[in-house]
Each structure stands twice: as C-alpha cells, then as structure tokens.
Amino acid sequence: MKLRSAIYPLASAALTAALLVFGTVPPTVAADTVDPVADAKAFKKFFTDKFPKLKLEDFVNGPYSMNEDLYRQWEEKEQFPPYEFSLEMGKEMFAKPFQNGKSYADCFPNKGIGIRQNYPYFDEKEGKVVTLELALNRCREANGEPPFSYVKDEMAALTAYMAFTSRGKPFDIKIPNDPRALEAYQSGKEYFYTRRGQLNFSCATCHVQSPGERIRAEVLAPALGILNAMPIYRSEWSGMGTTSRRFTTCNSQIRGVPLSPQDDEYRNVEYYLSYVSNGLPISGPGARP
C-alpha cells in the first residue's frame, strides 16, 4: 500500500514536469536531421571537458582512469590478468574446425583476425545492426553447429580472442548513408538516454551524469570508450562476461526485466556506443572490479 501511494505523487510530479518541458521545448526536429558526426564530437567533448587530465585513449580503462588507487592495483593485475584463461581457451576454440571441416576464419574478413574494431556494422541486406557476438553464432549455425549462450563462457572466450587480435586498433564503426542505419543509430541513442526499471535509471544516469563517482562500492565508468574493453573478466561475476551480459544484468539491477540478448534494442545501443567511441583503441579483453 505504501508503494502505491508513493507512486501517485511521483507520477503526477513527472506529468507536471513533462508538461513544463512541452511548454518550453522548440518544435520537434525531423528524423532526417540525425547527425552522428556532430553527436560523436559533442560526446567526446563532454567527457574530455569533464576530465581534462585524461588523454582520449585513457577513457577505455573505465573506472581505472577515474581513481588513482584502483589504477595502480589494476596495472599490477594486468601483468597476470584474470582473463588469461578465457583468452587461451578462445584462441584454441577459434582455431578448431567445425564438424563440417570449415572454421570461424571462413566466416569473417581477414580470417577473423584484427577485425573486432569494425563491429557492430549495419547490414544493408538485412536492414539491421550486426554485432560480433551475433556474427559468431550465425557463423556456427551456418555451419551446422549449435549456437552459444550470448552472455559468458564460450562466447566470451571467442570474443576475448578476437578483441585481443585487435588490441590498440581504433574503433572504426561505419554508418552507411541509409535511412535504416541512421534510424538504428538513433534508436540506440534513444535507448541509451531512456530511463527504465523501477529505479528509473538510464545508461546515461550513471555513465554520463556520474562517471568517477560511486554507486554503492563501485566507481562508475564514463560512457566514452565503455565498450572498448569488452569482453571483461569482472570480479563481481567471478568470471567472464560479454557485452550482452552487461546489458542484461544492468537492466535487472535497475529492476527492469531484461530483453533477450541481441534483441534489436541492445544491438542498436551497442551500435551507438561504439560509434561515438570511434578513434579510441580496442583494449579488450579487459578486467573490471
């Protein structure tokens, strides 16, 4: 009963706020004025202004670039990183052929080596965003193999290896001159800033409004470069996790029912976040608290 009576004043307050916004905001801009180039520039400027002491490439280290003590501990651990086991497993798995004799190398450009920075990309034939994880499972299914779970274990190992072969290469996400691609980009951007879950958080609430600050005991990472270290060995998980794992667990943490991994919304937000981090180096696989 308490919760119910708490929601009504909250709801009416939000409604009032919405009405105020409507009253002051200029007429809505048409969809064809989506400008990813301007967005990316503003995105980078926002974070470099906020953290003037950091170089652009430092942002890929997330919380470690936000806190000196954490950074020192992480540097030490990187000599013997916890993702080593998964990375080795990924390398072996990648080299092993499927039952039909083909291998992952046959599905990807450049045999799958040094290409991670090009994902996600917009597939003009399908009209949708394709992420690395999705491409890997599609490769498996096209060759008669069962797909892996998107969130950990084998998928994490494979993407860890592929990320490792791209270490240092800058994100190079392309948005073709196709209205569907722009729409996917814009949907991803909208998802990123939309509040959800009972806790009413958006991705931006933590990663744009509060990077470097704490949520409970964790130091928050800035949104710029946040996918560059994926997949990650997260101490909180006592194991590896992929981008899919992070998106779904974050949703449930703010008390929103997660969508399925690789649903359109997740693919689009990965597209947006990767694009605005273009130019920042791939640092994966990574370790996080």
Partner: protein, 103 residues
C-alpha cells in the same frame, strides 16, 4: 592438459618477486545453484612455493578465497635461472604442481 598454475618470478638484487595465477573454482560450499542446491565445497587448502629445497611461501586457504586466485609476494634470495616449484592440494585431494625458472 595445460597447468592450472601460471607463475612469473623475477629476481632483482637480493629479492625475488613472485606472481601466480591459479585456475580453480574455489567453491566455498555456501553458494546455491540455480536449482537451489548447495554447490559443494571445492577449494585449495594448501598452496606451497618451494625454492632450493625450502618452503618460501605456504598458504592455508579456506572457502573465503575467490575463484581463480592471484598471489603476489617477495622473498629474500633467489637467483636468475634457478627453479621455483609451486604446488597445491585441494579439499578433494586433487593436486597440481609446476616449476618455473626465476627470470
């Protein structure tokens, strides 16, 4: 099968610094699985680093140590090229051992 122990030992002056990463589930025996059943305890109980016939580091562990434990320590002595032997025993009686050369 690859060893569960990764180790790097570097000697400088009269001290040797050792880092080790061990692959082990380190189940405490207090965690339940998705069916609600206890995951049985499975953790390293003793970890030993041996140099020149003597133990330079011994750890008595319990379920409180995290999965894939990382250990770092220094000991007096140790020369480049010498052997450092690492071994562990867990509560199920399983063991693993490896030898590394001090760099």
């Amino acid at each position: 099968m690859a060893s569960s122990i990764r180790v790097r030992a570097t000697s400088s002056g009269d001290t040797t610094e050792v880092q080790a990463l061990i692959q082990h589930p380190m189940d405490s025996g207090f965690v339940k699985d998705s069916k609600g059943e206890i995951v049985p305890p499975h953790f390293i109980q003793e970890l030993t680093f041996e140099y020149d016939g003597k133990n330079v580091f011994v750890a008595d562990w319990g379920g409180g140590i995290s999965k894939d434990p990382y250990v770092k320590f220094s000991f007096k002595g140790g020369k480049k090229g010498d052997d450092l032997k690492i071994s562990w025993v867990d509560n199920k009686g399983a063991t693993d051992t490896t030898t590394a050369k001090i760099q």
